[in-house]
Symmetry: C2
Subunit: 305 residues, 2 copies
């Protein structure tokens, strides 16, 4: 079974890692949000892409989910001593990625070429693609004005109340080479348990139409998110955060919906949206959890094909 | 006695450090070559300026003379693993400087503003000024074509035979704020034992006229340089490398010349250029050597004022 997964940062990376364990490499393509990419210290930084790559390469920091394992912080500490901003924690190993990516971008290489080369160097077997080679910049519209995503997410710690989102450049951004082809070749598309507003929506805007079965995994469990501001965003947008809210968010696009056993009581309401449902453990504490969730979801998709 | 010193990299930094030990901070201004500045990995790098600052701050690597003491190399090793060039060794602590400098330059700050702030952060008491806030780029004209300075110096290890030098941008480059004022206020200008062709000539081109007594220290000792390609350059330009060659190089500009005791037999020839001479130990192995040389030279200047 050929699968395309849409992923944002930590949650998406963990699930994509599960898929990479249970699918032959040639049957998995992970398409990653680039809406939260930004320039910092003159370097081109792709937080979601790096989180997915580091996770699939087994190099991610298991404590944070982002950044590199056994990381050191000499560069940013030295920059901070000179008055540089330290709110975005750039580790020394991680900076190797940003430096080389920046060098190549300045040479005119595309983000997808660079990502392909980096995946080879890191011995990642599955295909990881940025959603687009053109810049798309997620702007968070808040009560304190518009904020670039990392400014909102990391610098302001998601504190300003959200009013909406804008994806600058999305009208002209084309799917990266391989994105359309991977979707065309896929038996199904899985929307990872990533933030629907800021991780998945940018990808959906770029990809536009998906003429394949799509299933989504709720990032909201018991009204909360494991990590990140998705629940807070639903709340501030006047929607009660729940698996139902996520199912409604995606319901025009998806045929199946996966959510956690703690939300079992919502199954009737979700089914009434005309969706097939899979109720299972969606928390991914261990590598086995990732694998097991991936494996359950592939079976769930299989019964429908 | 108020002193302005013109300096390039390691040799200049060591002597400037000696001066900083024997002069009150307000009496020393070090004007540093920026002709070998370059962009690498998207970062703005000033090798001579950093060497002088690190040395005066007591943070320089004592083994190499450049870079930082107790340095680590995580970033560049990770970049190299992705195919990035590793010929210019960027250490992790050192990269903190480049990142913050690049960030500020992109914000529109000038190199001299940035250098002033960095010196404060590093607790450097004497004044260190870049020769100019406008870019000057030393090009080495070689038998294999023109090479940017770091390309020649670090990447090609000074191997291509030199035919000449060009300082791109030097016609429009203004002395940085404070440079003219420091020279005007100085009792004397000292040309450090730096490479006359590529470290001092760019500064002289930018500064243009110096209406003060100038004395120079030979970087060539016994026909050789302690470090760097000055002797090789003289040779390839058809001039026998020696303290006399250096004295001739500067003789229209200087009134006094300092050279090493091993070259004592050249004193007559140098005096015949109408120069006062100081023959002394100019090798700077230890911190005491630096101090002692600085102190001898200040006495030598004092006898003439």
């Amino acid at each position: 079974m050929k699968i395309v997964a849409f992923a944002g940062g930590v949650g998406g990376a963990k699930f994509a890692h599960g898929l990479a364990h249970v699918l032959p490499p040639e049957d998995l393509t992970v398409i990653v949000n680039t809406g939260d990419d930004f320039e910092h210290y003159g370097l081109y930084i792709c937080p979601d892409l790096d989180t997915v790559c580091y996770t699939l390469a087994g190099m991610a920091n298991p404590d944070t989910g982002w950044g590199r394992v056994n990381e050191t912080w000499d560069v940013i500490e030295n920059a901070a001593r000179l008055g540089g901003p330290a709110w975005f924690r750039l580790g020394d190993q991680d900076l190797g990625t940003h430096l080389e990516r920046t060098r190549r971008m300045k040479e005119g290489q595309t983000l997808s070429q660079i990502t392909e080369d980096f995946c080879k160097a890191w011995d990642i077997q599955s295909m990881i693609l940025p959603m687009s080679d053109q810049p798309v910049r997620t702007m968070v519209e808040t009560e304190e004005g518009d904020l670039a995503f990392q400014e909102y997410f990391v610098h302001r710690r998601c504190e300003p109340r959200v009013r909406g989102f804008r994806f600058e450049g999305v009208e002209v951004a084309e799917p990266a080479p391989g994105v359309k082809e991977a979707i065309q070749a896929a038996d199904a598309v899985i929307i990872c348990p990533s933030n629907p507003w800021v991780s998945i929506n940018p990808i959906l805007h770029v990809v536009k139409s998906i003429e394949k079965p799509v299933i989504a995994i709720s990032p909201i469990i018991g009204g909360k998110t494991v990590k990140g501001p998705a629940a807070k965003m639903y709340h501030e947008l006047g929607i009660e955060p729940s698996a139902v809210a996520v199912a409604r968010h995606y319901c025009d696009l998806i045929t199946g919906f996966v959510f956690d056993t703690v939300d079992r009581q919502l199954e009737g309401e979700i089914k009434s949206l005309n969706l097939r449902t899979l109720v299972t453990n969606t928390l991914m504490h261990s590598h086995d959890d990732r694998k097991q969730l991936a494996s359950h979801i592939l079976s769930f998709i299989g019964t429908d094909l």
